[in-house]
Amino acid sequence: MQTVETTPTWQKKIGLAWQLFLQWNLRSALATPWRTSLTVLGIALGVAVVLAMNAATWSAMDAFKAGITEVAGSSNWEVVPTAVPTLDEQVLRPLYELEAQTDEAVKIAPVLEGQGLWVNPSLNKSEPLVPTAEVVSILGVDMVQNKTTDSVQWVAGQAPINWFQLFQNGNHVLVGETLAKRHGLTVGSRFSLLVNTTVEPLQVTGILQAKGVGGSSGGDCVIADLATVQPLLNQAGRLSRVSLIVPKALEASVLPKIKQVLPASTVSLQPPQRRGQRVETLLKSYQINLTALSLIALLVGAFLIYNTLNVVMVRRKPELATLLVIGTPKRLLQLLLLAEATLLGLVGSVLGLGLGLLMLSGMSQAVSQTLQAIYTGVGSAGLIIPPWLPWVAIGLGIATTWVGAYFPTKEALAVQPAEAVRPQGSQVKAQLNTVKWLKLGGVFIVFSVILAFLPAVDGVPIAGYIATKLLLLGSAFCLPWVIKNTIVWLQPILPANWVWTPAALALFSGALNRTATACASVMVSIALLVSLSLLIGSFRSSVQLWVLQSLKADLFIQPYTHEMSRGGGRLSNETVELIRSVAGVAAVDNFLELDATYQGQPYKLGLGRMDLFAEHGNVKFVNGEATRSVITRVVALAKQPKNAVYGAIVSEPFAMKHHLVQGDKLTLPTPKGNLNLTVEGVYFDYASEQGYVIIPRQLYERFDGSMVGQNTSASVYVQPNVSADTVKTALLKVLPPTQLLSIRTNQQLREEVLRVFDQTFAITYVMQAVALGIALLTVLNTLWTLVLESQQELAILKVIGFQGRQIRAVVLSQALLLAFFGGGGGIMVGCGLAVILVHVLNYQSFGWTVPLQFSWVLAGQTFLGVALGALLGGWSPAQLAVKASILKSLRSQ
């Protein structure tokens, strides 16, 4: 500069950057609203899926975890059962002695927890009461000496008028604020809960604020004195835990003493927070899998962003070159493009939050019901989005935009300033080094295969998750080479009278940089769609077959509470006997399912009538051995004297989690010493990912008398020539009106199992819809771009005599090529992805063997769907090409 002596200061540099951002980046983005919207939509869809899936599981978990924190109050330690769900209250005696020894510096408070179902009051007393699916937490505490929970706080005007009612009458209870508000309860109100199998009438004595003890299950609770709750839950003499306040100064001296007086094999002393970890452990696989799937959706979104920004950057190259020529520092341009990508990411993420909330309102109920039915037993009170989640979602959205924008931006910034000097029509089109990308893709795929064979880390298939991403990326990298060479091979075999095909193939391969990325974007979306469809289809077929083989009883009976919340609700022995007494019943297998822990991992201990099972039951064993043969061995071993090694069968997930095979030993702690078992068989099971250990109930009752007379379900085998429906009708007649049981026929239970299955997987349909939407958007975007950029070539074709329909055929042929490479590639890669999802992620997360079933129908439908979508999407650009003026098109170049 000859005269103006200026050196840009920092403020001026920032001012310049801001001006260029507003004048160039922002206006350019707004000048192409269609493309900008596509980019934003790609981000929004990914962010929405991440937000919705994670918030749905969070909401469902929150009710459970919130209850734990609230009820723990100021207690800092607790004694909990480790083997089975409850403790014998005998454990209190030495603890009270310790309390006395410390002059009550250490405080002890026993707690019993259970669940009931809300029963809507019947207007017509002759009609049977029908329980709702609304689970209410029931909490029994020592009302006389409430020492550990924080001092109770009453809802204004709803404090107990007469405290003594709580001790005098077995049906007086305190009610949490949330439950009271929902049902309009006030002091003195009467209501009913279905507890186990009986409708229990209760009366409100006071209403607690949803904090401290009243905050159990988010205030959706009923609280009463322990002496009231124990018989109500049919848990006489049992406790869920004992809460303790141990002053910090005394911990070193008192805790060892407490441990000394406790039966170490069946109870544990731990901080209250650890109970929440159990739920986290339970939900870990479910949550991680949803998160991983949502991240794949984000990756699919990244491809759409990449594809769109690739087009944007190619079009902006001359402008970038001009800016470089007039002396704009490259670093400033980098900063501007990064800021633009960030802004797009931010807008997309914020839009994604809104879209996610919409999705969430649709899917949260399905997730909540799944988690309630399978894992926690507690329904969520409503949508709860943790404050960090929107920020994480926005962060992921912006990061995805950066990932998607990285290569197009890098390529655009590599532009030589000399590009600006060339006329636009003669600008060098970036050549894609297909062999280089093929090699990189090959390396990714090889690594993907290697990672797929690696074991899970702490039960999380990290290597498997990375393998899915590498497979998708690797396949996308190989695609340009495949397209280039397939077109070379296709050219000579197409009919000579299809005059439009050479032009279509030339335009398609001539813009390989663009078309290959578009095909890759479609391919990744379709791969996700296909893999999820194969996973769900194969899984459903396996479950269908398993249900058909395993459910042999004619009627299945269980308390509604057990059905709604696994683990809650018991059938009494009297009820079982009542069932046995019904005419037409041949045998009743009363089963007890207990939530237990083995080597720190939750599992289900099943206690059944194995003699009956040997006769009527049927499960498929991994080694192919017949059910009768295995169960007869287990029954025979159970007859040995105490301290022998007995037999058990374990489900495949349990065996996988604990690395057990047939013949291995396992030891279960019981109140009367260790129960040593040999694994007599490993059977296929899809009922619980935690896994089952099943042993004869008579055997277990020898080690733990407290379980005698407790049952969670009964399988009824009816006599030959008697229909299950007849027995069901007879059963309903003999049950007292206050006894409510879920009674399902074999067919009904099969349908219910598949309904729960479909509900569990309903969430993935959202992802499939997102994947399909992204694929179609990509096709549309690419075809518009191709037509706009091929205006000169299309005009020349018209000049040499191509008719309108032939021009249309050129464009639609390119649409079909997109569908062929994107859709066909997507189906193939989807099959590979499905192998990893089914055999690696599913097996390592849940331990379920699922034979993968390829579906030609699915492949055909998908391919036809993509082709049809491409043709529909291509119609409008094709019309544009047909109608474009030859002169204008030639001049525009």
């Binding site: 500069m1 050196t7 160039w24 350019s28 470089l324 020529v325 007039i326 002396g327 704009t328 000097v421």
Partner: protein, 240 residues
Amino acid sequence: MPNSCSSSLIIVENLSKQYQLSEPAVLKSVSFTVEKGSFVSLMGPSGCGKSTLLHLLGALDTPTSGTVRVNGAVISAFSEAELALFRQQQLGFVFQFFNLLPTLSVLENVSLPLLLNGVSNHQAHAVAMDWLGKVGLSHRAKAAPPQLSGGEQQRAAVVRALIHKPFLVLADEPTGNLDSASGEAVMTILKELAFAQGTSIIMATHSEELARQTDRLLRLRDGVLVQDEPLKPLHTEVLA
């Protein structure tokens, strides 16, 4: 013959450029000097290396061999940051296809070189308006470039190339895409404004008529400098 006297703005020595080893060189050992304030035209048939030579002079490309010195500095030795600064302060470009940024208004386009040089936004706009007035475009200051005729766009592009008072303007067929009247108008503006501030111009052109209006004619054929002819000094014509 190279002339390395102190008034030389550009000294080109044995400049060669070969894009592909398998293809012949586009420029073959070209040498010449350009004095400060002179207007040089560069002629030759298509593909003779005119554009390549302009790219090398503007450091848009790197030579295969030989050097280009501008104000004594070898520009091929510049780092990326130095190159940006060099283009920012010492160079101006005029292209055949104008290359105005389509999303920026005419005023914003011509203000940009000043802003890059640290002039405040307010001052840059004031100077730009003044320059637009000189070329008869003040009434189109807020228009977007695609709304302007080709001649108007090129006038704006000339202002953008000169507004920051560079030592050298490289013009690649600046009238090649314009009708003769518009071309003549652009040429006049280019000459007057450049002369007024002592800026040197090297212009590639196919037009013998335009070339004859410059101080000196360089002719290339097959990458070789075949003619270096002094013409009527520009300042005489401008003063006349």
